[in-house]
Symmetry: none
Subunit: 402 residues, 2 copies
């Protein structure tokens, strides 16, 4: 049986900093991983005196998306709390999502005589797509009492948020995709698969038809296909669960969105990692927990750019002393998943972690790397145990049992 | 919560080879384990570039039988899917078992004036026992519409398969043993413990009485005791669960039987390990997944023959280059459990594993052994995670969540 951590929470004035180098874990190319290849004197020194290990965001063998990766870092079971595609798309485009909202991913498509001839409308340029989406927004503001928000995306993609007068649940969002997945077929209907979703599907039908009449004379983007209809998962707030007042510092909307799912404060931050660290310093006295997200490490991994990923890690290392100067009670440096340049994608490999606190063994690793972390005192463990470890190391967890 | 792997399966043309050196794990005698003592240059080299670790077939401290050991290697929870004793006995004797069958283990016994005087009929020689069992088969072909098959075993043991006109479930097999467990007592009745088992128990009573009248004049084997009445467990097929077309290559009927439980193809293979490898080569293009079973390692362990077990491991190592020539995308070499010669039996110790694929860290172990595998990137993990790891390493698992 699993213990309910919340019952053991005690508050104090400690500070916890979680640095997420997105996609940190890697695989060797010419014998070294990206992290082994990077110039990381500060993290190497920290690793020597920290608790190190490797963590599994979902489970052995499972490659996590960004959603599951971050939820587990925040201490939530990513299989229990699954985030719909539409929600993640909306979060990624910077759309605020509340309990009253249903979100969906949309594609512009080309239709002729009722048949989809191009599911991606010739991958129309982002600029062109944005203009069409803006035209939709100025023509369609609501369907009955449902407020409609259009969020432009890349190329043929955009997101829609439907805001209802009352809260909706996952049952309301059980609606089939209309994308037939193949050209040469008619678009499908947004069929509800629950009784609760029936009225929502009706709204969606009206929306699709309203959109079609606005864009019917477009050359390529004359129709839309919808996917991933979803509502917010019902996640207990981070503060209620862990007693930590939390600030998310992330320049990409998606990661602020993920933090907002668990009700962290998520002000807009722009600029470089240095700007993020400045933001951390400025707000340091006002929060207990800081999630600082460094995106570019993953981006270079996804591009298969080994040296680029390695350089981003080195750059972060050079900035690290500024965080250390704040002297947080617990500092964790890790990733939300691995993104080996070798695979050009997220992967299933466990993610290296160092946890600095006054209450660790230390002295088992010589550097911060996948292979050195194997010698660490944390072993290979499930990511969901990391937040409790941070709480323990900041003396925020009471004894269990007498 | 546990993720359903099946929802993430994607198919491709990769090949996965699982070599099971039965009972591989061992314990030191004069400082070295059987595996450390063996001459294994090929596996040592592989271990240096592979993902290594140790796996727990059931759990810490639990000594697995061959059934649980193999089921976990095949990715099935051995506590969820338990295999009845009668089924395992039948499989071990090469009996084909279908959904219409109930199987049981039997002992010849000596009865006098209704009292069991020897529960094993003086451990009559196997040859003698086989003759009696053949006589039973020629006298008893059916009980009503139930077809009866007798399978001769070692000494006083044999198995019986009852084939019914319709499928049976585990509820039909809930019937008590008739073995009183002590001499000087009357045999027990085959009592049904469910309503569904009542008619089956009736058949069993008639069978016992029919057998008794055939063998009543035998000197020692003049009665039988029955145990482990069981039906096939309801296991989802390997292909449905993992999308892998699988071939089992095993010379012992028991292991083909275990593979057949999960619907692998299980043609009869005879001869040496070299013959098994030839069979692998011949069928390599026709399957995705190959389970190659090497029995003798365990047999010598069970005999307490340390050097013999060690030699069997060395012999396999010498044949390994032939498997490497096939260049499988994922190659795993491990055991289904440990069988230390020191204990002359299966044991609870985790089992060394090496997993070769293009997507591993490697470089953490110097050889293939229990102690070197402790330094491996897989750590100590539950065997049931191994099949998912093979799928991940052959790029057959999609990302979980966006």
């Amino acid at each position: 049986m699993t213990l309910n951590i919340t019952s053991l929470i005690q508050k104090n004035n400690t500070k916890i900093v979680l640095v997420v180098l997105d996609g940190l874990g890697g695989l060797p190319v010419n014998g070294k991983t990206e992290l082994e290849n990077a110039n990381t004197p500060n993290m190497d020194r920290l690793a020597r005196e920290s608790a190190c290990g490797l963590h599994l965001p979902v489970d052995y063998a499972i490659t996590p998306g960004s959603g599951p990766g971050h939820l587990s870092l925040f201490g939530y079971d990513p299989v229990e709390f699954q985030i719909g595609r539409g929600i993640l798309e909306a979060l990624g485009l910077g759309v605020e999502v509340t309990k009253n909202d249903i979100t969906l991913r949309c594609n512009y498509a080309t239709i002729k005589d009722g048949i989809i001839t191009d599911r991606r409308a010739g991958r129309i340029p982002t600029d062109k797509s944005r203009l069409i989406t803006e035209r939709l927004q100025s023509s369609i503001k609501s369907i009955g009492d449902v407020e409609v928000l259009f969020a432009p995306g890349m190329e043929h993609r955009f997101a829609v948020r439907l805001r209802f007068p009352n809260p909706v649940s996952t049952l309301h969002a059980m609606i089939d995709d209309t994308d037939p997945q193949k050209e040469g077929k008619a678009p499908l209907s947004p069929n509800p698969t629950t009784e609760e979703a029936r009225p929502i599907a009706k709204v969606l039908e009206q929306l699709i038809s309203a959109i079609a009449s606005v864009i019917k004379d477009e050359d390529k983007a004359n129709y839309i296909l919808t996917r991933g209809v979803s509502s917010l998962p019902d996640i207990p707030p981070f503060y209620d669960r862990y007693g930590l007042k939390a600030l998310a510092i992330a320049t990409y909307p998606m990661y602020r969105g993920l933090a907002r799912l668990v009700h962290m404060d998520t002000p807009t931050v722009e600029g470089s990692v240095q700007d993020e660290i400045d933001f951390l310093k400025k707000n340091y006295k006002d929060y207990d927990f800081f999630f600082l997200h460094v995106k570019k490490v993953d981006s270079y991994g996804e591009d298969g750019n080994f040296q680029g990923k390695s350089n981003r890690i080195s750059e972060f290392d050079a900035l690290l002393p500024q965080i250390l100067e704040l002297n947080p009670d617990v500092l964790m440096i890790t990733g939300d998943h691995s993104t080996p340049a070798l695979l050009k994608s997220h992967s299933w490999h466990p993610v290296p972690i160092l946890l600095k606190s006054p209450y660790v063994l230390g002295g088992t690793c010589n550097a911060f790397s996948e292979r050195e972390c194997l010698k660490g005192e944390l072993g290979i463990f499930h990511t969901i145990k990391l937040l409790p470890l941070a709480l323990a190391n900041s003396l925020r967890l009471k004894k269990f049992g007498a």
